[in-house]
Structures are given as structure tokens and as C-alpha cells.
Subunit: 199 residues, 2 copies
């Protein structure tokens, strides 16, 4: 490793800890910071601190929020009869970018994983049940990941929620749009066949 | 765009300004920050500010430095008879990682570019000439980029320095090691032929 002046070496080290950033990218970013305006760097540093200082979890859905209620729970235009259950706050992006879902969310903050020692009691499931006491909710869409853990969590929740007389649905798994059957793995392909729909 | 809580949206915006970071990477980094320890985030923010506050330019070679002299100019083991001239401080990395150059550096902070209105007087050339007055320097290696501007700068410096009786060399241009002739562009290929060496 070349000898960097200490503050530069330290910045490279810290930047490298970010996801998706290797040594080369970290160096590139560090040199960019070195050449950048002082005001721009201050804004970035403040934004970093503010995220830690000003954000908490929504008291209703456990999404990230700058107040008691998150933007979705605050929004009177969102359909309160549907709740989409997701594992992590960032999973919300994938759904919101479709612009097709108008309901609310519930963030579990994880998935059931005996291997990692995460059981249902570590997830925000009690909070989800608490939201169902008003009889307002008509459908729960389980949008946990299509992984072993996500699937286990979905199955667990379905068993828990169905006896309450609420419609419980699971997002469809199948061949991605625009891809080629040739590249589909066998599990996805068999899910796709299993979930076939009449045309 | 999904609605992010304001501090999170602002962090994504600021992170996106970094080189090589798009919307997806910025979101990933922002969510990582959200989950990270407060101490880790503080260290990153401090490292950013420190780079701007604590670093300046070496009074000898104009490399980035946390003191009057940079690590290379401070190092008594570096060969003071050779100076490698580079355009930008980060160009130094490419040379240092080879571990084959033991001399000193001189950073021009740019290259001659009539199109961008950069002439020789805007580069740190006077400072380079000042280093040659002691007769200690025996060779100047021109390691400016293999671009039109870098080449123009090298030619300009060679004309300026040769009359002073100093050996002036230019880094070799040719086919990259491990690549395939098939992928070489014609300029590189002709440089490679022109610079051929007897075996």
C-alpha cells in the first residue's frame, strides 16, 4: 500500500467499510473529497450524522421515520385496509417504485431463521397483530423475500393470521419479466409453473 | 421515487454526488448508515472533515500532505536523484503500488489543455524548476497520462528540461500486460510497435 497522509488513509479506511465499496472506489471517493468544496463535504458529513440523530422507527409500522409516524402511516390517501409485510425498511423501495401499491406497510425487521437464532418473537409480529384489532384491515400481503427464511416467515404469519379471518396473500414467484427461460433456475421455474394462471 | 424520511433522502442525495455512486448504491449506503453503529458513522463523518481540515500540499512536491513535507519528501530512504512527474496526487498510487520506484515525485496539478484554457503557467512547473537548482536531480521521469493533454505536457516539459542537461524520460506506452492484441486500439498498437525493444 502506498503511504497516504494519515487523514486520507483514515478516510479511505472508513469509506471502504461501506457496502459495495472496495479499495479502488474508496481511494477515488477520498481523492474526490480532497478536491471537493468544503461546504459539500460538510453537507455530506452532516447528512450522515442527521440520519443517525433524527431518524427512528414509526410507532405503527416500524418503518424508518423522522417523526412518530412514517410518511406512509401519516398519508391519509393510503388505503388502510391493506398491509404489506416486509422484512427490512429498504424492501419498501422495491414495492414503492412500482407505483401500484397504495396500502400501508409493516416492517418485521428480519425474518425467521433458526440458523441465525432468530425466532418469531424477535420480529415485530406482536405490533402487527396489534394493528388488526380495529377490524379495519382486510388483506395482509406477505412480501418477505423469496428465500428459505422469507418463505418460513410467510408461512408462519399465514398460519397466525388466517384464523383471524383476514385475507392473507403472498407475492408471486416466477420468471422475471424480460428474462429468458434458459437462465431460470429450477426452483424459480417450478414456482412459475406451479403458479400458472389461465389466460 | 419513494418517499424517504427527509434526513435519509438528503443523505442519499449527498452520497449520490460521490464518484461512481448511482441511485441504487446511494440507497444501499444510506440504509447501511441507518443500521450502523453511531460510533462508526461518527468516525466516517470525522474522517471526511479531517481530510479537508488537516491536509494541504507538500511545499516541495505539491503532493497531498499533513505537514510541510509529504511522506515521500520526508522519507530519507527515497532516492533524491530521480523525480517522477505526475498530473494529479492520485496518479501516485498507480506508481507506488508497483513497488519499483524509489525516487521522489512532483505533482503538476493538471495538464496542458488549450481546450480547457490550462496553460503551462497554471501548472506547478516553476516549483519543479526550483528543485533542479541544487544539481542533485539526475533524471526526470514524465509520468503524465497517455492522453493528448498528458502527452502535450510531457513534450513541453522535455523541451524545457533537456537544455538544463538533465536526463528526461517518458513512461512507456504499449499493449497492457495480460491483454490480447485483438483488443488493442490502433494508437496503442502503433505506440507498441514504435517502442519495440530488442530481445
Amino acid at each position: 500500500m502506498p503511504d497516504f497522509a494519515e487523514p486520507l488513509a483514515r478516510l479511505i479506511q472508513e469509506v471502504k467499510r461501506l457496502p459495495g465499496i472496495g479499495q479502488k472506489s474508496a481511494q477515488r471517493i477520498a481523492f474526490h473529497i480532497l478536491r471537493a468544496n468544503r461546504e459539500d463535504v460538510d453537507r455530506l458529513a452532516t447528512a450522515l450524522i442527521d440520519v443517525k440523530e433524527k431518524l427512528g422507527l414509526c410507532i405503527v409500522c416500524n418503518n424508518i421515520s423522522d417523526g412518530e409516524l412514517c410518511v406512509y402511516c401519516r398519508d391519509p390517501h393510503r388505503d388502510k385496509t391493506k398491509i404489506c409485510v416486509i422484512e427490512e425498511p429498504h424492501n419498501l423501495l422495491a414495492i414503492e417504485t412500482t407505483r401500484t401499491f397504495e396500502g400501508g406497510y409493516h416492517v418485521l425487521h428480519g425474518s425467521i431463521s433458526p440458523l441465525r437464532g432468530v425466532g418469531p418473537e424477535q420480529l415485530r409480529i406482536k405490533e402487527l397483530l396489534a394493528r388488526l384489532t380495529t377490524n379495519e384491515v382486510q388483506e395482509i400481503i406477505l412480501a418477505t423475500n423469496p428465500t428459505v427464511e422469507g418463505e418460513a416467515t410467510a408461512v408462519y404469519l399465514a398460519r397466525l393470521l388466517k384464523p383471524l379471518g383476514i385475507k392473507v396473500t403472498r407475492i408471486a414467484m416466477g420468471i422475471p419479466v424480460g428474462s429468458d427461460l434458459e437462465y431460470a433456475d429450477e426452483v424459480t421455474m417450478s414456482k412459475s409453473l406451479e403458479n400458472r394462471r389461465e389466460m
